[in-house]
């Protein structure tokens, strides 16, 4: 069946005008489980991502409860977690396991797989005018490898010694030595194997996205007529394909160190009274390998959010995106620079100061393309005719958060200041705002905007507005005061601050933050309810183009089948941002250019 689909797809590509229909019989299994339709795979990624987001978010609620009130006991926590919460009090080891899993889940399983996986799969064929991905088979495998990674990661939560607990950055020797931490026993092996599967998934997906974008654009869809979402997803895929293999190699070497007695990362160690024979390795080597992915990773998370927000801001301002070429250029610049800044995570490892200075320069350079993007978004809003759809609200929220979190990056990227701020709450505030919450806002914007295309129904608007306002106010209330804790030097990943003369004065603030975190989490559950309820019970979409947008996905039927367009794939005649041109509110991409039309 797979070859049939492939053949079909390519044939339609080359001939373009052959009528497409469902020749093959689809069973429940091929339609909903092992589906090769990019739209179904996108939904599989999205639903899996949502489930992971609930789990990851719940973990943060539990450890925030500990931080908010370190002396409280919660008997129900013991019922839930057993010996990990003896006497109703979260044990430090499990606290660290929760912190680690929260990071791993949110960074990789939600904001990488859940975000790129969903929107790259969903939007690339629809927006470039293709019937499906270049290889639907690989695409399906990409999801199922992700599923396998999810199952393995999930299983690590249930092993006797607990899941990995050395932080999502899994620095050895802590992660390499079972004697150093409970979480570094079998939980860590499962973490590494799960991530290996995850990387396979990410590579299969990424190669597919790149190939599809380069080869399968419909007639007239030149690269410079692609919507910015596609550009962003393209650069995201390039980043992933070039950097994830490095993490894989780092993870494999760590598996060797753990299980085969090698010394890649180990040297001169006495752990739990045991003198280890390993000599000559370097713990810092792992950090280089890790951050060579780890830094591009934050752009893998952020770029899709940027692309979708650009599109949504333009559609709902009824104005073209300002400076399209500069937007593409800045995405490109960010992609290149993303590979050249990894050691800014390592300013205090004893790095050569000269090398550090090079990374300072390259890191702060990223602020230039970021500034271009921000000012271009602002100019897109300027003199618009703005419709506050829920998607638009989240896109505006994205810009606000990107500014707030991006500016604090200028503090941390400057090595002299980083000496004081490194590994404090300032860092937590910075990356949660800029890559956590901002990317989530981009993702929410995407979900609200393309939900009608995904399910043929609308989400409930009132719930959407409640979701937006509580989330943005809550996010600022949670993370803004954390900057002050960071300036006071309050370190990350502490289970309890009450014995520290220097940090215990923030006890009240920590309690406040925890309270807001619980409220914000509850509102996300409201979104999830809205999401699933509306799939079956939402208001039906009656028009083909509910947002009056120009891009090609809105030329498909309200509920497109496998193959997307029942007839020919439309031909593209213009860029996707002709809003408000020549007195017309919008001109879709498949409308031919009129003889008297002005040039932009």
């Amino acid at each position: 069946m797979s070859t049939a689909t492939l053949h079909e797809t390519t044939q339609h590509e080359s001939h373009g005008d052959v009528h497409h229909d469902h020749h093959h019989q689809e069973t429940f299994i091929t339609k909903y489980v092992f589906s090769q339709d990019h739209k179904t795979i996108a939904k599989q990624f999205l639903v899996t991502g949502i489930i992971w987001a609930i789990i990851g978010g719940l973990f943060s609620v539990i450890f925030r409860m500990q931080l908010g009130n370190p002396t409280a006991t919660y008997p129900w926590l013991e019922d839930l977690l057993g010996h990990w919460a003896k006497g109703g009090k979260l044990q430090p080891e499990f606290y660290y396991a929760l912190v680690t899993m929260h990071g791993t889940i949110l960074v990789f399983f939600v904001l990488t797989a859940g975000l790129s996986g969903t929107f790259a799969n969903f939007l690339i064929p629809l927006q470039i005018g293709a019937r499906d991905m270049a290889s639907p088979m690989l695409n399906m495998l990409s999801y199922w490898f992700f599923f396998l990674a999810s199952v393995i990661m999930m299983s690590s939560l249930f092993v006797q010694t607990g899941p990995a607990s050395g932080g999502w950055t899994i620095y050895p020797p802590l992660s390499a030595l079972g004697e150093a931490s409970m979480g570094s026993k079998i939980g860590m092996d499962l973490w590494l194997v799960s991530m290996a599967m995850f990387i396979v998934s990410s590579l299969l997906g990424g190669l597919n996205y790149i190939t599809t974008i380069l080869n399968m654009r419909t007639k007239g869809m030149s690269m410079t007529r692609m919507p910015l979402t596609i550009w962003a997803l393209f650069f995201t895929a390039v980043l992933g394909v070039l950097s994830f293999p490095v993490l894989l190699s780092g993870a494999i070497l760590l598996l060797f160190d753990r299980n085969l007695g090698t010394s890649f990362y180990l040297s001169d160690i006495v752990v739990a009274g045991k003198i280890l024979p390993n000599e000559g390795g370097s713990a810092i080597l792992f950090q280089h390998l890790f951050w060579f992915l780890g830094h591009p990773e934050v752009y893998i998370i952020l770029l899709p959010a940027m692309g979708m927000s650009s599109e949504i801001l333009s559609v709902n301002s009824r104005k073209p995106i300002f400076g399209y070429m500069a937007m593409v250029g800045s995405l490109f610049a960010i992609t290149i620079l993303a590979f050249l800044v990894w050691a800014h995570h390592m300013f205090v490892t004893g790095l050569n100061p000269f090398l550090g200075s090079v990374f300072v320069l390259l890191t702060l350079l990223i602020a230039v393309p970021s500034a271009i993007k921000v000012f271009n978004w602002l100019t897109t809003l300027w003199k618009g005719n703005i419709r506050f759809t829920p998607a638009m609200m989240f896109a505006i929220g994205f810009v606000s958060l990107f500014i707030s979190g991006g500016l604090t990056g200028i503090f941390l990227g400057n090595s002299a200041l980083d000496i004081h701020l490194h590994d404090t709450y300032f860092v937590i505030a910075h990356f949660h705002i800029v890559m956590g919450v901002a990317s989530f806002f981009g993702m929410f914007a995407g979900v609200y905007h393309w939900y009608p295309k995904m399910f043929g129904r609308y989400l409930n608007n009132t719930l959407a507005y409640i979701h937006f306002w509580v989330t943005i106010i809550g996010a600022y209330l949670i993370f803004w005061p954390m900057h002050y804790e960071g300036l006071a030097g309050m370190p990350r990943r502490y289970y309890d601050f009450s014995n520290w003369e220097s940090f215990k004065m923030f006890g009240g603030l920590n309690e406040f933050i925890s309270l807001i975190a619980i409220i914000v989490f509850a509102v996300q559950i409201l979104f999830v309810v809205n999401f699933f309820y509306s799939i079956w019970k939402g208001r039906k979409v009656t028009t083909q183009n509910p947002w009056e947008a120009n891009t090609l996905e809105w030329t498909t039927p309200v509920r497109p089948g496998h193959g997307n367009w029942p007839g020919d794939i439309p031909e593209v005649h213009r860029w996707p941002y002709d809003y408000g041109k020549d007195g017309k509110d919008f001109i879709p991409q498949d409308v031919p250019v009129g003889a008297d039309e002005s040039k932009h």
Partner: protein, 352 residues
């Protein structure tokens, strides 16, 4: 049981919100979708500008509440850290200005250009002059920040002055241990394979090296005020980090790869008690690199004192060599035998 009630209440609130939301959807269909969309638009545009105003006030309020609790009002406790404070203020003034301008524009534009009947969006796809402007202006400001930042960075990471007091600090799960070089000013050699918990040689010091004989092994760090201090940083098991927030200093402790940092303490602990108004003030060493279950309790203490007190404290400490091999201790020997003082170095080669 109270758990059950609170869950019930939360579920109830959810159901109520959900029902209201459903009802509002029906109302909007009855009213006409266009009309209700316009209404929503107005409400949200107003909320945008309200959010901006309340948000900016909130930022100011938060600053009033917490700025005094950061370390900046009391100033850096080290001479070198002053540069970091200055760098912070420079960066804060640049980013703070950009923050206010961009957030105001964002929410103000959102409010001002909300959809109105008869209003047409302005077709404005690009303008090279504008784009050039906001490429070059940030680039100039960033150059300034990079130049200042690197100047201070190179100053702080330069080799320590040759007259610096040397202290070795070693992290292990979950405590810090210090070693002072003694009168010869040199730390004895170490080899992690010589680690021996029962004998007390927890740092793996090589006592065959004569330079180790006068080294002091302590759990508290004492430093003289006003003199440069060089820390030699080690770790026994996993990566730790020596975090000295009052001195604005921080450096990882990596097993197998010794690191260093140096600074000059400006105020004694007693002076800091007065400066901060906190009679319990103490310089704390925090572990700033996740190191296992006891990470949050890996606390060390530094006592900064004047040189006389510092020297007195040094003199009161017994070299580790003598605790390891009491028979070599001159004090011990004069007590044990009344014979002439044996030189402890003489029989070193036989010690294992």
């Amino acid at each position: 049981m109270s758990m059950f009630y609170s869950i019930a209440i939360v579920v109830m609130i959810f159901v109520v919100i959900f029902q209201i939301a459903k009802a509002s959807e029906y109302v909007s269909i009855l009213k006409g979708e266009q009309k209700s969309r316009k209404q929503n638009n107005k409400i949200n545009a107003f909320l945008m500008i309200a959010f901006l105003i309340v948000g900016l006030w909130g930022a100011w309020y938060c600053n009033n509440l917490y700025y005094s609790k950061t370390l900046f009002p009391q100033g850096s406790a080290s001479v070198e850290g002053e540069k970091i404070d200055l760098m912070l203020y420079i960066t804060l003034s640049v980013t703070g200005t950009v923050f206010v301008i961009t957030q105001v524009l964002l929410f103000w534009f959102a409010f001002k250009y909300q959809e109105r009947d008869g209003q047409k969006a302005f077709y404005f796809p690009h303008n090279n002059k504008l784009e050039l402007l906001w490429t070059t202006v940030p680039a100039i400001f960033l150059t300034i920040l990079v130049v200042f930042g690197l100047k201070y960075w190179f100053k702080m990471t330069s080799p320590a002055p040759s007259d610096a007091v040397v202290v070795e600090i070693t992290g292990h799960q979950f405590a810090w241990e210090m070693r002072y070089p003694g009168k010869d000013g040199k730390l004895g050699k170490k080899n992690y394979k010589l680690y021996n918990q029962p004998s007390g040689n927890t740092l793996g010091v090589d006592f065959e090296d004569p330079e180790s004989w006068d080294d002091l092994h302590t759990t508290e760090m004492h430093l003289p005020v006003g003199k440069p201090v060089k820390l030699v940083i080690n770790a026994m098991d996993v990566i730790h980090d020596v975090g000295l927030s009052h001195f604005r200093m921080k450096m990882d402790a990596v097993p197998g790869i010794p690191t260093t940092m140096w600074f000059t303490p400006k105020y004694t602990t007693e002076e800091m008690k007065k400066r901060t108004g906190n009679p319990n003030f103490v310089y704390e060493i925090s572990c700033d690199q996740m190191c296992g279950k006891g990470h949050f309790s890996m606390r060390g203490v530094i006592v900064v004192e004047n040189e006389a007190d510092y020297n007195k404290w040094l003199a009161s400490q017994k070299p580790e060599y003598f605790t390891m091999y009491p028979e070599k201790d001159p004090e011990h020997q004069t007590k044990a035998t009344d014979s002439t003082m044996a030189k402890p170095m003489a029989s070193v080669a036989t010690i294992n």
